[in-house]
Symmetry: C2
Subunit: 356 residues, 2 copies
């Protein structure tokens, strides 16, 4: 594919941040990708430019009506200095799924992936080499038309920004404590839960704050209808090992179709470990914990990769999982997945895409 892309190189490169103090999404690289959309033109003027502020009319629809979608993926540096992406086509596909839900015009997935690779190639020095670090990639689209009527915008901006990152949680790969949320709801069937859109995250901030105050790092959402069934964690899907079987909530129309989730299901099947996607009530988890069959629990997501869960708090009943330590299957999945991602473990699934 030949890319028709304008590239404007920066004249003032930033200093790279301390690789041991990266945190998540705090530092940004020297360049970004931008592309415009107008109803009468379609997507146009794709370009890589120096990282810069964007100037918007105060009435831009994104500010008022939240018409926006995003994606999140990572670029990894291998020991022999190659640059790998993990299933990036899935992110492009999901971006268009989100677009559909938010009445945003679709993008050309193949084109956008090529543009993304080009941006990564230009910013390759920003990909940190240390284990557990990577370059986080954030494609997103915002509605920019300055008009206060509630209707889909006629103008959009698509951008890709890059951020070198360490661990998502302060705990690193150590177990996190999760609070089961009973009051607030993130998403419901018929809502926007299957899309990666801003409003889903805005809805979660309040519960997240409450959980933090109680000493928990994330909330586990329950379904919005009966508040009985487990959905997902802040920005992770969730898995439980109960009596030898791994279970995860089925894609029911209110949770995100996580790419890490999908990959873990593949990996488990490949490992001949029983895995089921189904409804899981929090009561079931509580019973399993009581009778000693709740063996492991973990979250999955691009940012945190795999995050062991050491404790669940449900209405002040605490379920400590595996003595608060990382379970052996969780560890094995973490090692295999991160190994495939950073090129140290072979990839039998064709998931890895190299950036040349």
């Amino acid at each position: 594919m030949t890319l028709n892309l304008t590239i404007v190189q920066t004249t003032t490169k930033k200093e790279k941040p301390d690789p041991n103090q990266l945190g998540f999404g705090k530092y940004f690289t020297d360049h970004m990708f931008i592309m415009d959309y107008a109803t009468e033109k379609g997507w146009y003027d794709p370009r890589i430019v120096p990282m810069q502020n964007i100037s918007l009319h105060p009435a831009a629809k994104v500010f008022h009506y939240g018409q926006t979608v995003f994606e999140g993926l990572k670029a990894y540096r291998t020991k022999d200095n190659r640059i790998l992406l993990f299933r990036p086509d899935k992110n492009m596909e999901r971006l268009n799924h989100s677009n559909e839900r938010l009445s945003i015009p679709p993008v050309d997935e193949e084109f956008l992936l090529e543009a993304l690779k080009q941006l990564i190639a230009i910013e390759k020095d920003w990909i940190p080499p240390a284990e557990g670090t990577s370059l986080y990639i954030r494609p997103y689209i915002i509605a920019t038309e300055p008009a206060l009527g509630v209707s889909p915008s006629n103008h959009y901006l698509l951008m890709i920004i890059l951020s070198p990152v360490g661990s998502y949680y302060a705990e690193g790969i150590h177990p996190v404590k999760i609070y089961v949320e009973n009051q607030y709801v993130r998403a419901v069937q018929g809502g926007t839960g299957t899309a990666k859109t801003a409003g889903n995250y805005a809805a979660g901030l309040k519960a997240q704050e409450g959980a933090s105050e109680k000493g928990y790092s994330q909330v586990l959402w329950l379904d919005g209808v009966e508040k009985k069934y487990v959905e997902e964690v802040g920005s992770m899907n969730v898995f439980f090992k109960i009596n030898g079987e791994v279970v995860t909530p089925v894609l029911n129309g209110s949770i995100l179709n996580g790419i890490t989730r999908n990959s873990i299901i593949h990996l488990l099947k490949h490992m001949n470990i029983p895995v089921a996607e189904r409804k899981i009530s929090v009561e079931e988890l509580y019973q399993a914990h009581a009778n000693g069959t709740l063996e492991e629990a973990f979250g999955t997501g691009t940012a945190a990769v795999i995050s062991p869960i050491g404790e669940l708090n449900w209405q002040d009943k605490k379920m400590v999982v595996n003595n608060g330590e990382t379970g052996s299957l969780t560890k094995e999945l973490y090692d295999t997945l991160t190994g495939i991602q950073n090129g140290s473990v072979s990839d039998p699934f064709g998931w890895i895409v190299e950036v040349k």
Copy 2:
């Protein structure tokens, strides 16, 4: 109250738009109000400046996680050229309610109202005189911190922008056709439905598009749990006159506490017309329509004021209300409320606030 407010006047005033072609939220005045927030400083530097684009880092949280709230009210010009606001204290109160839900720091309601009045006074020439026209006022807050971790922002901008407006609907005060939405859901208890926040409107775009394609101007949302009970219309609360009694959905934790809704309830009580806030199933409306007791239906909201509903479509069953014409009570309420708002009818409730 003495206001500590910087004012920078524009040097290039825009031409006013044709007062017969205003539409809704398409034109903006010469000045805007801005105020900053930083965790360590609180709200600071309130100022009125020429209307201008805002410059934001591409990682500003509002773009990614939708942490934003807004309000909507109007300034009216009386026949004798006074400028009136309608219950503006209620909008300030609701702004803080929305802030609470979105983990945004509260604002000083009294201060913000004074700043708003000052802005209106500066822009008073922009308030159109014709009946049905007014100056729409949009206060809003956006999270501006450039950081991709999902957590409340440490920086915000509060802005107020102004737009001279005509009728919200192309139909003017003529009856609109409304589509009862069965698939998509706007909000659910525990979600953000009681807040005026961007994500609620983003969630509604898709359904709105579908309704437009079928020739309906808005959707009527049903509850997200059972999809049985009527909630509200796009940007209006909804009322029905059934067999002499006026009913409106009770504030159940998923709909907006509309200020027009509240005012209509007061007016009806004042007029000794029976009014009830309660659960209303769409089945009940269907039955009432079938037996001839669904006498009138209308939506209420700042933008549209009172909008008669001439037809409801529920799963392709059409309920034509009052032969598709504006009902007499709807008309009386419209006349009284717009009369109070534009100063031509006396205000027994103390709702009107004059801008000097």
